[in-house]
Symmetry: none
Subunit: 214 residues, 4 copies
Amino acid sequence: MAASDVAAADKVPIDLAHAPGAPATGTARTRRTDPDRRERILATTLDLVAEVGVAGVSHRKIAARADVPLGSMTYHFASMDELLHEAFTRLADAVAARFEARLGAARDHEEAVEAVVDLIHELSDGGPTSTRGNVLSYELYALAARDPRYRALTTAWMARSRRELERHFDPRITRRLDALIEGMSLHRALDEDPVDRTVTLAAVRAVVGEGDQR
Amino acid sequence: MAASDVAAADKVPIDLAHAPGAPATGTARTRRTDPDRRERILATTLDLVAEVGVAGVSHRKIAARADVPLGSMTYHFASMDELLHEAFTRLADAVAARFEARLGAARDHEEAVEAVVDLIHELSDGGPTSTRGNVLSYELYALAARDPRYRALTTAWMARSRRELERHFDPRITRRLDALIEGMSLHRALDEDPVDRTVTLAAVRAVVGEGDQR
Amino acid sequence: MAASDVAAADKVPIDLAHAPGAPATGTARTRRTDPDRRERILATTLDLVAEVGVAGVSHRKIAARADVPLGSMTYHFASMDELLHEAFTRLADAVAARFEARLGAARDHEEAVEAVVDLIHELSDGGPTSTRGNVLSYELYALAARDPRYRALTTAWMARSRRELERHFDPRITRRLDALIEGMSLHRALDEDPVDRTVTLAAVRAVVGEGDQR
Amino acid sequence: MAASDVAAADKVPIDLAHAPGAPATGTARTRRTDPDRRERILATTLDLVAEVGVAGVSHRKIAARADVPLGSMTYHFASMDELLHEAFTRLADAVAARFEARLGAARDHEEAVEAVVDLIHELSDGGPTSTRGNVLSYELYALAARDPRYRALTTAWMARSRRELERHFDPRITRRLDALIEGMSLHRALDEDPVDRTVTLAAVRAVVGEGDQR
DNA sequence: GATGAATGAGTTTTCATTCAT
DNA sequence: TATGAATGAAAACTCATTCAT
């Protein structure tokens, strides 16, 4: 589980697919059938949270952005918190899936190490998508630190990440490796002068016990 | 810079000292002069953000909790964001100071390693104070990922942490060490089954290049 | 376009019809459907502006007077300015309509001259209705001198007045005639010792080129 | 009394002289002696009313713009209304003085007619100064139509204008001439396509009884 | 005399949610 | 089933004015 991975969340095709600027399906008249409205609301919610934070979202803003009637917000989601919880559930799933996809593609130990470095750098290099993912992660962490319902999300996400890492690394080091991924992603995202790949690779090697001895 | 350190923030005596439930200096009648009102508002703001998040705070809630008139909120701080920014500035300072104090007390390399492990565990073991610090950090990260004004805060904080680490560790490894502190603190805080000191120590040793070779 | 005409604005049955003290349609319980609420808000807004000026109106006051919930103010009108603009649009329409009605009833040149004198005197003779119209006009002029959106209103109003005058008078003199109407209405309204009909008639005759030579 | 004349108000050297962007006299420390602070507040008030209307001014905005302490506002003027009334008194005086200066310079009947045309056109041709004067006049009219205290101002102003006109024109026509000046100034100010000097001159001639007979 | 600090009442606006249709 | 209309509560913020100094 690491912040930068979230950045790639909207690349996951099915779960979070949506076209932000896309016109409403059909005219206002033919709004009748709009099957993926629920999904669009969820995706829009995440977009908006990334932009203005949990503190800045509202039913109205989401409805306007998703081109959905305001009344349908509470029809589809009983409350704001339910909407938020479901949105962050989607997020955690998408990010974990992404993590798994990357690690899963690694054929051997070396490729796994490379995949980890990729994960840390990928999209924490800046750009709107990266920001989106980072903000969303930190918002989720803040929520999770306060609320058990959100902590369940992060716990599951962390478990999936660790399980995936264990396919390539010794169980005794997956925790610290996961933590390193998290910390380096976060620092890279917030740092004015982010470390380059060499530094990251050395860090990963050290953590997995392959570093040069002092 | 690590989340768990924030937990200890309110132990720092000067910067953030405040007595939440303390009665106002003087009576309601003689409220005219209340010199540390500004400080009390800032401290209360952080307390409240820790409890309900940036999304949950409001002038009203802060004013009520700090026992100040609602009108004085915007007298002391031109806007909600100004208040928040100043509060988080205080937070970052206090946390960095705490970090420095811990590391500064270390007399040799061994003590520095121990201090790092302490920092990671300290108060990320749960309890209200821990939660406070964690939530505040994540809220700040979310803010920083979106807004340069807040990023200036995290950048300065990170620089201070790294400078302190460099007094004990090779510059080439302070970045990864700082990242590990961050990541382990975060994971310990959010994990249902947080790692114990042995694991943390092994992780720190590995990162500083003293780990057992595989 | 002349200030005093505005005084008659609330006589126009359709455009601005409203019963200030009328009870809400239905009980407080069945308020759900209150079709002409929008209109009532607009009419009340003009009433209140007439009484206390643009400077003195507020959502609260209007809501209370119109017997609508405060929350419905910004539901029907996105902002205070939108409300004011729409209210003044109504006003300008009503006043212009009144002007046309008066002039339109004139069958020949002589009747047109009489109609103009009527227009100047009508209700600028004092009384609450007169005040209402005058104040509203000056408030609108002040708005128009500052803001193009309001100027569009006065421009259209002036055009309608002039078009109507041209049905009875030479195009070369409608502008000065319209200006005279404006000026005499204004001065009569603000003067402690307003001129009587004879003076007005002589002024109109002079302006249309029928005055006695010196 | 005519709107456009107001535009020239700030040319009157003594009464309303002030430098909007001028730095405070002396430093913040040497604020002690600031003899024309009262005058500066009054001038700033008119400037601000011209910009944002009576509805938009506030003690705070005026104080900030005039570079005086907020507390000194209510020290110099017991209430907002007192400040406004005194400011508009200054305005009416300045405008009437301007009117007198123009008319007083006329040596004969022909020059008086020219002066009147000048007055109508002068600065109602647009530009910030013109807007300032026009807005201020209409704001004053709105105030006067509602409040006797302000009406006293307009009444005196009108009397002075008329007295001056009577030095050049037959008493029987000064009222209609004054009204024409008022109306033409106003229409020129608000019209998208203001009349040119020829039209104005013809109007003035007609009103003073020198027009071509039909 | 003059003012910085302060505040209670008020401002506009936004909000989540309800509910008749 | 879906939604436009509606609203009470609360949001952030501004205000004129007071008053200790």
